[in-house]
Symmetry: C2
Subunit: 346 residues, 2 copies
């Protein structure tokens, strides 16, 4: 039992059950062809000998695999962690299993690890591209002719299926909300041009302004790192311009958290002194002081949809992109513009 005994194979089972290896194989594949009685005998033998199916060998012969690559730019970000969980869940129930890579936004790591996954027989990829992913690489992996679904960030210039929330619509929704509250000078804070997500959200913001007949002041669009630090720095910049905004739509919740913090540092309060709106509705958004108004994206669902999309592609079914619904969640960080405290110069 604890001896260094050779691994149990189908042949051993065949022997033990008094059938051929082909029959064992049929049983393993749940074939209808085999007689119930025989099946039972084979299953019993497997049990007795402690058989472990060797999928590697099977896949070698069959030229397929149930292994998929899951490449995530930043698992440390709860938003992407949630997506990863959604993907994993869907794959698991479909009998697939992901190889994981966290690229940490490093394109060269990304390239290395995706190559490794290919060598390990990944049958397709769920892919949240790192920020600097270039078109050359995109073409490279396209040439692999494996199904690939990009999640959140689509790559311009290649036609992978993609799954993403309705960034344009969400930003429009949020901006309309602010306009409805009476705001006229609304800023957009965070992100870098070249980031598709930033561009989409910014576009939705601009569309809402335009639809309301409000001027688009380029000075109100502040580029910043897409994280808390960016928000902190950006809100400072916004408050110090000559004619400061009364509201700010942040690229994402992390940026909004930073903005909240920046306000707090100045003795100002979000909602009263400056309306702040986030994007994503990550877990913490409900628990800041004040709680954050934000655009809710169901990232778990997004992950599941991505997985299903990839599975469809694997089956060769026709597929289309998926744009996830968004929903505005109004909390206390967004209020109407006030006249009292928010202008340092009065």
């Amino acid at each position: 039992m604890s001896s260094p005994t050779r691994k149990v194979t189908m042949i051993d089972i065949a022997h033990e059950a008094g059938v051929s290896k082909s029959t064992v194989s049929l049983v393993l594949q749940g074939s209808e062809l085999v007689k119930d009685d025989t099946r039972d005998r084979v299953l019993a033998a497997m049990d007795r000998l402690g058989y472990v199916y060797n999928r590697g060998a099977a896949n070698l012969r069959r030229k397929t695999s149930e292994v998929l690559g899951m490449v995530i730019n930043d698992l440390t970000n709860p938003f992407f962690a949630e997506i990863a969980v959604g993907i994993e869940r869907a794959l698991q129930t479909a009998g697939f299993i992901p190889l994981l890579a966290n690229t940490g936004e490093d394109p060269s790591r990304q390239a290395r690890v995706m190559q490794a996954m290919r060598e390990h027989g990944a049958a397709g990829f769920l892919f949240c591209p790192a920020i600097g992913t270039d078109e050359g690489f995109a073409h490279e992996i396209m040439s692999w002719r494996l199904p690939i679904v990009t999640v959140m960030r689509r790559i311009p210039g290649v036609d992978f299926r993609s799954v993403a929330p309705d960034n344009v619509g969400g930003a429009r929704l949020a901006t309309e909300h602010l306009i409805g509250l009476g705001h006229r000078r609304i800023a957009f804070l965070g992100g870098r041009p070249g980031m598709v997500v930033m561009e989409d959200r910014c576009q939705g913001y601009q569309a809402a302004l335009a639809a309301a007949g409000l001027p688009a002041d380029p000075g109100l669009i502040v580029e910043e790192r897409p994280n808390r630090d960016g928000g902190l720095a950006g809100v400072g910049a916004l408050l110090s311009i000559a004619d400061p905004p009364t509201a700010v739509l942040c690229f994402n919740d992390a940026v909004a958290f930073g903005a909240l913090h920046g306000l707090w540092e100045r003795g100002l309060q979000a909602g009263r002194d400056l309306a702040v709106v986030g994007f994503d509705d990550i877990a913490n958004a409900a628990h800041t002081t004040p709680p954050l108004t934000t655009v809710a994206v169901s990232c778990r669902t997004l992950g599941e949809r991505a997985a299903h999309l990839l599975l469809s592609e694997l089956r060769g079914e026709p597929t289309g992109d998926h744009i996830g619904e968004v929903r505005l969640v109004v909390r206390a960080s967004s209020g109407p513009p006030g006249q009292d405290r928010y202008r340092p110069n009065t």
Copy 2:
């Protein structure tokens, strides 16, 4: 090029380069035996034909694999996400690659997916057990005779190598800090007995009390879910007992966040009205209001150590458990006991 051409194999390369498949194999394995000139020819051929190494086939023959199972109880928890990232990083640089499973604290999912990973040829496991993991299952996987390293939560009764922070020491440190501030009635909040981590931390807390000659009031140990909701509920319970504590050590940061929120709801302030200390120092701890005093655990490092431990085991090297260092980070949520506001009954 885009034709449904058969996959390129070593044999094709051998042909193209005018050598035998054995030579190609040697090149692939970076052997010193092959002449530089030949190596170049082979590499060139690979390049020309677009060869992809089939590790599945290699592993079948070689009876090893660079694939490891990474089984995480809850990736949604930033603490474990960080560990996962640390593991993945270390594995990647060592040329290994993880299969991922998120069990969502469900032991039956856990059992299913670990079996699947075994069938896929996982050579070992990095394992953060789900909460209800029973000893029977532990013995089952032990019988697989694969190297397994448990992370964070060790399993009593089986001797897997394990990696965890110094929970006992950290809790002692935190409690000593509170005692040093002058607190005499210090509560412990959150977690369930049966959770090893809770037991360790609670033990450290009790040790510190005992060392300071303070009585151990069992009424000051409040079991609760190990998350924000548990903290919220628990702090309410603590404040309403006859002789309430002046300080509370929370099972982890999430619980502490809930406690902070509970205080805020009652118009009380952490640090002044009740000293609150967390455990883990997750990303948000520095950004609560007030910022949270907590025991910092370097989870990224923890993950890396776990990976290295598993790799050592794979190489058959002698190994031992790793207990990660902890460090007390004092922020504003813990102050000396006051006399004014924290007693509802004065």
